[in-house]
């Protein structure tokens, strides 16, 4: 199982960086979806099944749909695209930045001043997710509902009255 985590982690990293570096917005969106799916697998392996399902369905699904519809709503022409993609050189430094910061981070995490807390085995019954979500975290459920209502109001306010 460890191997799966390593592979997915690596893929997620690569696709995440690609999502930033791709010139085409469509490719970026797809790379993001792939990274998201990899994260879903990691979650599944770590035991967070429901979170994994949400991640794969909502993040890699719904958000990609949103991006694609946004791309289709904005028919950027060639000239404009050329201007927008002047950032080719600007993005070229990303690997350098990542290498430098990666080395720094490695130095930090391997130093004796740093350690993660020891993992505690999961000591919860099978149906705790339901209980946690619906009873202990009821406030969050209410918050989610309000966020969704706000989202709906946003769509009404930003799209409905468009001339």
């Amino acid at each position: 199982m460890e191997a799966v985590v390593y592979i997915c982690l690596g893929l997620m990293f690569i696709f995440g960086v690609l999502a930033v570096m791709f010139r085409s917005i469509l490719k970026s969106a797809i790379a993001l979806a792939v990274a998201s799916a990899m994260l879903g697998i990691i979650m599944y392996v770590l035991g967070s099944v429901w979170a994994a399902i949400f991640e794969i369905s909502v993040c890699s699904g719904l958000i990609t749909v949103i991006f694609i519809s946004a791309i289709s709503l904005s028919n950027t022409d060639k000239q404009d695209l050329a201007k927008l993609y002047e950032d080719k050189e600007r993005m070229a430094f990303l690997p350098t930045v990542l290498i430098i910061s990666g080395v720094t981070l490695l130095l930090v995490v391997t130093s004796p001043a740093f350690s993660l807390p020891a993992a505690v085995p999961v000591a919860e019954a099978a149906d705790t997710l339901r209980e946690t979500l619906w009873i202990h975290r009821q406030v969050d459920i209410w918050g989610q509902a309000m966020v969704i209502i706000t989202g709906a109001l946003t769509v009404v306010a930003l799209f409905k009255e468009r001339e």
Binding site: F114, Q138, V139, G143, M146, T150, L153, V156, A157, L158
Partner: protein, 487 residues
């Protein structure tokens, strides 16, 4: 005690009910009556928070926790109010009322949309102040954020969309930081409820290497809430967003949103991690830099609302300084300054709306001598500016005094001196504003100018009365607080 719980329920029930009514009503009716419904919500909130405060002090309690229906399990998240959060809830009601009164003049179309989002904003802010769990705090913070982006953007002007987008991007950065910080704390504690986080005593084993994660979490959360507050160097979005929004929305944003979204976060943070000297030091430095840089920016602006927005940056610095003292006196000073800032900043934005309605411009270079034609606006602006500059016996003086005293007591004498000195800057940039807009000779093109009337005038008078009354009766308030055992 039941009564407090009912009054607390009102904070959620009333905005939700009004939202529902507004959505279910036919569109024409909603456009017409929604603003009055919103007024009812704001007034209910003011009344409920005042009643709650009095009840709480009558029972000699500092805080009261409660839950709705069956959230009684030990591990579940509960709501709670305490004396300080009730003051903030009161401010929410007051500023919302001011915003609604201004909106009655400045918002023509999309009134229903404005009211819906305002209700969501109030819900979000009320929730933030009342929850007792860091993650729920984050959830309600996002509601506040989303509602404010859309409130800025919904009028679809170029500048409005621009301000909203800048605010949005900076805000998401803040969310990322706050959430990362939360996950690190969660990693250590296994729970994010305030009581558990405090009970865990994260800082007990000072030598533990795992402390590094806590420090990282602190750094990220300070930066995150700093962005939400608009403290320097995280301030850049604030003047843009507050300038470009409809003035009714600016009243909300500057008057209360930055304080609930940012300062309240800091209040929670300092409450949970006050044992870390680095946190206090970071807040003190951020506060001092905000005061000075915000004032320098405000000195060079020509846009009425932008000056007032930069003044918010500067004043947030004072509140941060008060919190950095880490004592109950400092907290009191900060909360009182939140209240004072809510009143006088709302007054100033209301005046901006009045001036714009009557003259059609925000550019202070094009104005002059308006005091003669608009005496109410001129006077309320003067009162607000005196309060901001901390001139006794206006309200701002007392809160600044408390903050400086708290700093002095906590050993931050240098910061206290700088804060005192920087008050001069405040006076200077507002004198400049006052002089260019209200004093001096009346320009000939304004010969036919009239005073603003209607709801904006009412808002000006209401807020000015609150400012002046707070200043005059503050010593009594202090005695009262002493009497109920807070000081």
């Amino acid at each position: 005690m039941q009564v407090i719980e009912y009054s607390a329920v009102l904070f959620f029930a009333v905005p939700l009910a009004i939202l529902l009514i507004n959505i279910l009503f036919p569109k024409q009716l909603a456009e017409k009556f929604s603003i009055y419904l919103a007024g009812i919500a704001a007034i209910t909130q003011i009344a409920a928070s005042a009643a709650g405060f009095l009840l709480l002090s009558a029972y000699r309690l500092h805080e009261y926790e409660f839950s709705f229906w069956d959230m009684t399990n030990a591990g579940s998240v509960r709501f709670g109010v305490n004396t300080f959060s009730l003051v903030i809830l009161f401010c929410i009601g007051l500023v919302s009322l001011a915003s609604i009164l201004v909106a009655n003049r400045t918002v023509d179309k999309k009134r229903a949309g404005y009211v819906n989002l305002l209700m969501m904003l109030m819900l979000g802010m009320n929730g933030m102040v009342m929850v007792t769990d860091l993650f729920s705090l984050y959830v309600f913070l996002e509601i506040v954020g989303i509602a404010s982006f859309v409130l800025i953007a919904m009028f679809k002007s170029d500048t409005g969309l621009e301000g909203a987008f800048k605010y949005l991007v900076m805000s998401i950065l803040a969310s990322i930081m706050i959430l990362t910080g939360l996950s690190f704390i969660f990693m250590q504690t296994g729970s994010l409820q305030y009581a558990h986080v405090v009970g865990m005593n994260l800082l007990e084993g000072q030598s533990s290497p795992q402390l590094m994660l806590i420090y990282a979490a602190m750094t990220l959360m300070i930066a995150g809430f700093g962005i939400k507050t608009g403290a320097v160097p995280f301030h850049s979005w604030l003047p843009d967003a507050h300038q470009s929004a409809n003035t009714a929305v600016s009243v909300l944003l500057s008057g209360i949103v930055i304080k609930v979204a940012g300062i309240y976060g800091f209040i929670v943070l300092t409450g949970l991690f006050s044992k870390l000297p680095a946190v206090n030091m970071a807040l003190a430095i951020m506060g001092t830099v905000s005061i000075i840089i915000g004032a320098l920016f405000a000195l060079r602006q020509n846009h009425f609302k932008r000056i007032v927005a930069y003044s918010s940056v500067s004043q947030m610095g004072y509140i941060l300084l008060g919190l950095s003292a880490g004592s109950i006196l400092g907290l009191l000073g900060a909360v009182v300054h939140v209240f004072n800032h809510a009143t006088f900043k709302s007054t100033l934005f209301t005046n901006a709306a009045a001036v714009h309605e009557q003259t059609g411009t925000y550019d202070i270079d094009e104005m002059g001598g308006l005091e003669k034609k608009m005496p109410v606006t001129g006077f309320s602006s003067l009162a607000a500016f005196m309060s901001t500059a901390g001139i006794p016996p206006f309200a701002g003086f007392w809160s600044k005094l408390l903050i400086i005293m708290a700093l002095w007591d906590s050993g931050f004498q240098l910061f206290a001196a700088i804060a005192l000195f920087a008050s001069i800057f405040t006076a200077v940039y507002f004198l400049r504003l006052q002089k260019k807009v209200f004093f001096g000779k009346l320009l000939s093109k304004f010969a036919g100018l009239t005073e603003i009337g209607g709801s904006i005038k009412f808002a000006q008078i209401m807020l000015t009365v609150v400012t002046i009354a707070t200043g005059l009766f503050f010593p009594f308030a202090l005695l009262y607080l002493k009497g109920i055992g807070i000081l």
